[in-house]
Amino acid sequence: MATIRSHARVQRSADDVWKVIGDPTRIVQWFPGVTAVTVEDNIRTLTLAAGLPVFEEIVTLDDRMRRFQYRITGPLPVKYHLGTMDVIEDGEPGCLLLYSTEISPDPMAFVLDGVISEGIENLARMLNDHTEDER
């Protein structure tokens, strides 16, 4: 199993960042290649630009810890997956956004590493540049 991690410092409060991360429907605003999203109970379904669906199970949505965890359950060829996003107040200006992934098989790590890194950059840029997105 491969592990990957991306991070970004966002020049906004942890509460502001959590408003985006903690709302599972808002992934469509910052994650590359996601064109639509639906959430029903703890099942999130993404639609990718090529029309492919991605089914996910929301595992943790913890407002107090500002932690979001999810699993990809299909149809991407994933045997095991756990994605964890933590928004951390660390005493520095702004906050730290950590996105950690455990995944098997290994080749999927390459695919997710690139797209997650781009997504984190998008999110940081969106929050740094557009204050209206904090709502």
Binding site: L48, A49, L76, P77, D106, P107, F110, V115, S117
Partner: protein, 514 residues
């Protein structure tokens, strides 16, 4: 009106695949005619032996360390310079038809423009090409070819070998008559196969040009890269049972393994199935299990694919001739890297800097109208690299190569090569796998020696290396790295390597395994 440029590439073709270079199985009369009327390069090397880095060198004219595509899966930045843009800005019509692979193929999020265009069917400009129609090794993925198959011949999708298995690993599913990996009997009709599709789309693009247009067309065939699944209707061309084994395949197992053991340890580790150093070969396949008959069958498939390529080239040449362009046409033919095809008992490619992977076919057939003192039957023995292609295209177009190109226009004969200092060529390998496997090679070829230094990684401590005398040991079976009598030669080559090698400035993220 200037000279037209047809740049023809194959994928993973050996130097000895074509008749002009001594190949005696595949019939390649069209390619051979380029050599009969042009300049053949007997020591042309890629700057990296896998697709994305090598192709990025072709389009930029830069070393791997400069363009930064250090392994498959690392995209060439969109803002990278491109010889196609230089030619387009000089008034050329430009196209790339076939396999590009400057950007990752495995892209479910459609993050990369090549895949977005392939998915949508758009053909607009990218990287200086006015027109792109892309293909890869089968019907899967987001290419224009796979879209064409899905739309017009959906029944053919399952006919091709499925390159990746359920774990997204390169599949080791056996096939053919011998159970060799990555072979499949493919029922696809020949005119649906990607080789003919590439020729068809090239002819279609040429048909849309004006008679007085100058043009640069990169016609890029995905074969003979694995999987080896040519149309079944063509298998009669070469009977694998009648093939001799490659001279690079020691038939005695003990001899074969002794040769491998004389090389740095990752050779034997891979051979025994104990190391997966890169994504290009099936990770679950154990090379030590490769049989002589499997080698014969893989070679037969490659020869068949090469014949189909040559015939497709012939159709394009006829179309060009019918338009009256032949006299003004420069043709450059090459490939991105080689293939073991049984040498040392191995298949595919990886961090193994020997001629199987590094010595490439390269021919430049100058436009007959060019004249200019070119000896159109020369063979150049001095080393050249694929980074010399882009500046050559500029020179053909009458453009001074931009400073960002690190290669030089190809020499027209050995005297020209010596006069302009074509003394050496360098090739590199860097790879990092999710499991921590990390390998780094730096190679110099000069004065008929190939010397490879291994940098520290997960398998090597930085003291290992390879040194071969290409005159006395053309098959690179005797590693002289630790030979005390060659120590001063080795040191001299390493000094020259250090002085001429462009180290990567950074290792950017791989965005996909391939």
């Amino acid at each position: 009106m200037g000279r037209k440029i047809l740049f023809i590439t194959t994928d993973q073709m050996r130097y000895d695949a074509i008749g002009a270079n001594g190949g005696n199985i595949a019939r390649t009369p069209n390619i051979d005619s380029f050599a009969a009327n042009g300049i053949s390069y007997d020591r042309a090397q890629p700057q990296n032996v896998v697709c994305m880095p090598s192709r990025s060198t072709m389009v930029t004219g830069q070393n791997v360390g400069t363009h930064g595509v250090w392994m498959n899966g690392v995209p060439l930045p969109v803002e990278s310079p491109s010889v196609a843009a230089v030619l387009r800005d000089a008034g050329y019509r430009t196209a790339l038809i076939g396999k590009s692979h400057f950007e990752p193929l495995l892209d479910p999020f459609l993050r990369f423009e090549e895949n977005r265009q392939g998915f949508s069917g758009a053909t607009e400009g990218h990287r200086g090409f006015d027109h792109m129609e892309l293909a890869t090794h089968g019907a899967a993925g987001f290419t224009h070819y796979s879209r064409w198959i899905r739309t017009n011949h959906p029944e053919a999708i399952g006919m091709f070998f499925q390159v990746l298995d359920g774990d997204l690993e390169v599949s080791d599913v056996p096939g053919g008559d011998t159970g060799a990996p990555q072979i499949k009997r493919n029922a696809v009709p020949r005119d649906w196969y990607h080789t003919d599709w590439v020729a068809d789309r090239t002819i279609s693009w040429l048909d849309g040009l004006n008679a007085d247009d100058d043009w640069f067309c990169w016609m890029s065939f995905p074969d003979p890269h694995h999987p080896w699944d040519p149309p079944e209707s063509e298998l009669h061309r070469v009977d694998w049972r009648e093939l001799d084994l490659p001279i690079g395949y020691p038939q005695n197992q003990a001899e074969r393994e002794a040769i491998i053991d004389s090389k740095p340890r990752h050779w034997r580790l891979w051979y025994d199935g104990k190391l997966v150093s890169n994504y290009e070969a099936p990770g679950k396949w154990v090379p030590a299990t490769l049989t002589a008959d499997q080698i014969r069958e893989v070679n037969a498939m490659a020869h068949i694919e090469n014949e189909l390529i040559d015939e497709a080239i012939g159709r394009v040449l006829a179309a060009i001739d019918s338009k009256g362009w032949s006299d003004d046409l420069d043709i450059v033919f090459t490939t991105d890297h080689g293939e073991f095809q049984g040498d040392f008992g191995l298949l595919f490619k990886g961090p193994y800097h020997v001629d199987s992977l590094m010595r490439l076919p390269l021919i430049w057939r100058p436009a007959p109208s060019a004249g200019g003192g070119i000896d159109a039957t020369a063979r150049v023995s001095q080393p050249v690299g694929l980074l010399d292609l882009a500046p050559t295209f500029c020179t053909i177009a009458g453009i001074h190569p931009p400073e960002w190109m690190e290669g030089r226009p190809l020499p027209i004969d050995d005297a020209d090569a010596v006069a302009r200092g074509f003394e050496r060529v360098t090739t590199e390998w860097d790879s990092r796998q999710p499991d921590g496997t990390e390998i780094h090679l730096r190679t110099i070829m000069r004065d008929n020696f190939v010397c490879t230094a291994y940098q520290p990684g997960s398998v090597h401590d930085g003291t290992e290396g390879e040194l071969y005398d290409l005159i006395l040991d053309p098959l690179q079976q005797v590693n002289l790295w630790d030979d005390p009598d060659r120590r001063s030669l080795r040191d001299e080559l390493l000094i020259d390597l250090a002085a001429n090698f462009v180290e990567p400035r950074e290792f950017r993220h791989a965005e996909a395994p391939v």
